[in-house]
Amino acid sequence: MNFDLNFIGILIGAIMASSVPLILAASGELIAERSGVLNLGVEGMMIIGAISGFALMIVTDNLFFAVIGSMLSGLIISLIFGLLTQSLLTNHVATGLALTIFGIGMSAMIGKNFVGIPGKEFPLLLDNLKESIPFLGPIFFGHSIILYFAFGLPFLTNYFLKKTKTGLIIRAVGDSPTSASNQGINVTLVRYSCILYGGAMCGLAGAYLSLIYTPQWIENMTGGRGWIALALVVFATWSPIKVLIGALIFGGITILQLHMQAAGLRIPVQLLSALPYIMTIIVLVVISRDSRKIKLNTPTSLGQIFYKEK
């Protein structure tokens, strides 16, 4: 029994680790969307973060630089999106899609020389406790600092949006940019900031993949996680806490169905692989079915181009 419990603990630890990139990317995108910006470039920003984090680690041999660098590169690529959509008033959807295509291509190009190089070990906190405490040990200890940050982030984001003045301004801009502008709020500045923050978080999410989760560079290694993150934000109806729940369900079922596949269950593999997507959507739709709350959380101006009257 003791062994089984410990195994479940390890399983939960693995689920947590697999949901980190989703939480980070979705939390970043959530802030951007709450300000009314629909950035479909999440996948692109993540993969750029993944390659630049990995490359910087190899080049500088410094994990701190690698992590900071990945965030900066995510930020810079999101700046392109900002310039296009906020200053040149291009369509959010098309620009975001272009950003993803650009990011995937760019990362493949940079990453050519980094294929096959083994990554470096990332320091894990209190790794010794992981072994010594059964069940709870593998859940709470032996993770990277980024994981702890990721699990705190939705709560911070929730507090930030609900309780701080800046959060209020972001929600106001997402609700009605015209009204915000008439109130003297610099809508463009607010939206730029939210886009850049979202970019940095996506960069970090990518770095988590290439530095910690599977420490190496593989082309296209984000494998659609950016799209999942985007979907999470929408199905979680823009609530940071529900994003966390959704990411855990998705991560959880992904890991579980792998174990089920390994156990040789007589269920078609395709069905098992589809399970995480289906279950996440079902659960999020069920827990978010309060139409009153949806109306209050949905950024009314999402995806709308804003320009000031002259």
Partner: protein, 499 residues
């Protein structure tokens, strides 16, 4: 505290239109000023300049004899100029208090005390912690006003504030405005409603085509004199003869209709019953948000109901969609001209084509018969005096009045037996309102019926043969229009009863 505001030689030119042409005006505190003009006369541009939203091409603004720069809304706030826009500048999904705190530097507790003080002083009743989208239009306006008041304004500008208010709310607003004026706030009141100028304001400046054409004391003015100055020509007033339809043929009958919505922000309709005779106009009054939207959608087929609950010319139509209902000769003019009645990005003739039904032959073998549609559209434009003959023009470039004429024309050119319209003159100027009213009277004279859902009581009393009131999704008793007064309507609209 004496405030003097002066605008001097203000000009603003937009491509193809001079919005303000050397406008000069002077205002002083202690009085309420009316800025009167038709839509497009340049009033809104002028107040946008005063509130820093739009920059003038030329001219200066003086506050207490000092020239002030109004480059942004922040500048207007710094100079204590408060502005309540016609279209509310509120954040619908935020709470009332969040809306107020967003542009205040005060601590939350201090701000709350201040706001509560204002609520008490002016006898406003608003829950500060519910989202704005749960408020009525009148309450939303009060939030806007409070937002100005917490900054101790010297000048308060109200842009067409009563266009969304009920009669009772309007009365309340006027009481508040008079109180503000007594407290030393200079009030500039923008409107195209003549009655309001006379009952509220001390001085009136009339604008026409970007220019100030007259400044006078309101005591020296009458409705007719102001109307003529505003329009620049003599208007004739219209009056309808109320008929008795007791023995006429019944054209529409709604019996025991219920509608329950899943959306908490929609109104449920309870046990609706009404009948409409041939050639009759039935007016439905009510404060907006009491089920008018839902009633309109039920009539138009946007909401489907039990087939037998709506009988039109002895046919069950409850299950039919809007296009099918049009085939049965019903016609509809929705409230929202831009988003419901017409597609602003489409050309005039394309919008006309949207209304097609089988008999119109606009489409043949899946192809658009452009020539036919254009001819048809031209006919509408000329028959209904739309101020253009260019059917290629995008609908968004039509003024509200012209767009409404196009929409009503599009509906009427097929000679429907019943026209259902919802606030057909909302936000229109006197000339266009007159035209629409004449048209609506005409169709009754031709023996066609109409249902007029409106929040404008004057309009209802002018056009209806019978009137009822919708309140919280329920219809009142249907009364003959000649027995109805504005007061009676007011009581019923507020949920009261009369015998």
């Amino acid at each position: 505290m004496n405030t003097k505001l002066k605008v001097s030689e203000i000009s603003k030119i937009y491509p193809g239109c001079i919005a303000n042409d050397k406008v000069s005006l002077e205002f002083g505190s202690g009085k309420i000023y009316a800025l009167l003009g038709e839509n497009g006369a340049g009033k809104s541009t002028l107040v946008k300049i005063l509130s820093g939203v739009v920059k003038p091409d030329e001219g200066e603004v003086f506050l207490n004899n000092e020239s002030i720069k109004l480059n942004s809304p922040l500048d207007a706030k710094k100079n204590n100029i408060g502005m309540v826009f016609q279209h509310f500048n509120l954040f619908e999904t935020l709470s009332v208090f969040e809306n107020l705190s967003i542009d205040s530097d005060k601590k939350d507790e201090d701000l709350r005390d201040l706001v509560n003080g204002i609520l008490e002083k002016y006898n406003f009743k608003i829950d500060l912690d519910i989202p704005v989208l749960n408020l009525s239009a009148g309450q939303k306006q009060k939030v806007e006003i409070i937002r100005c008041l917490i900054r101790n304004p010297k000048v308060l500008i109200m842009d067409e504030p009563t266009s969304v208010l009920t009669e009772q709310e309007t009365d309340d607003l006027f009481i508040s405005l008079k109180q503000f004026s007594k407290d030393g706030i200079l009030i500039i009141y923008i409107t195209h409603k003549l009655k309001e100028v006379l009952s509220l304001c001390d001085e009136v400046a009339v604008m026409r085509k970007g220019k100030v054409v007259s400044v006078s004391n309101t005591i020296d003015e009458k409705i007719e004199s102001l109307a003529n100055k505003m329009v620049g020509e003599n208007l004739n007033t219209i009056k309808k003869k109320i008929n008795n339809f007791k023995n006429s043929e019944e054209i529409l009958k709604i019996s025991n209709l219920n509608f329950k919505s899943d959306d908490p922000y929609e109104t449920n309709l309870n046990n609706l019953n009404l009948s409409l005779k041939k050639g009759e106009c039935l007016g439905i009054a009510g404060i907006s948000g009491n089920g008018q939207n839902e009633l309109f959608q039920i009539l138009s087929g946007e909401i489907i109901t039990e087939g037998s609950s709506i009988m039109f010319r002895n046919k069950e139509i409850g299950k039919l969609n809007p296009r099918e209902r049009r085939e049965y000769l019903m016609a509809f003019s929705p409230e929202d001209r831009i988003s419901q009645a017409a597609v602003p990005e489409l050309k005039i003739y394309e919008n006309v084509a949207l209304n097609n039904f089988k008999s119109s032959n606009f489409f043949e073998k899946g192809l658009v018969n452009e020539k036919k549609i254009k001819e048809h559209s031209k006919k509408i434009l000329s028959n209904f005096s739309v101020n253009t003959d260019n059917v290629e023009l995008k609908s968004q470039f039509l003024s509200g009045g012209n767009l409404q004429k196009l929409i009503i024309g599009r509906e009427l050119i097929t000679s429907p037996e019943l026209l259902v319209c919802f606030n057909p003159t909302w936000g229109l100027d006197v000339g266009a309102i007159n035209y629409i009213h004449e048209t609506l009277i005409q169709i009754n004279e031709q023996g066609k019926s109409s249902i007029l859902i409106s929040t404008d009581n004057d309009e209802l009393l002018k056009l209806s043969d019978r009137i009822c009131v919708i309140y919280k999704g329920k219809l009142s008793k249907i009364m003959n229009a000649d027995t109805v007064t504005a007061e009676k309507l007011g009581i019923l609209m507020g949920g009261g009863t009369i015998d």
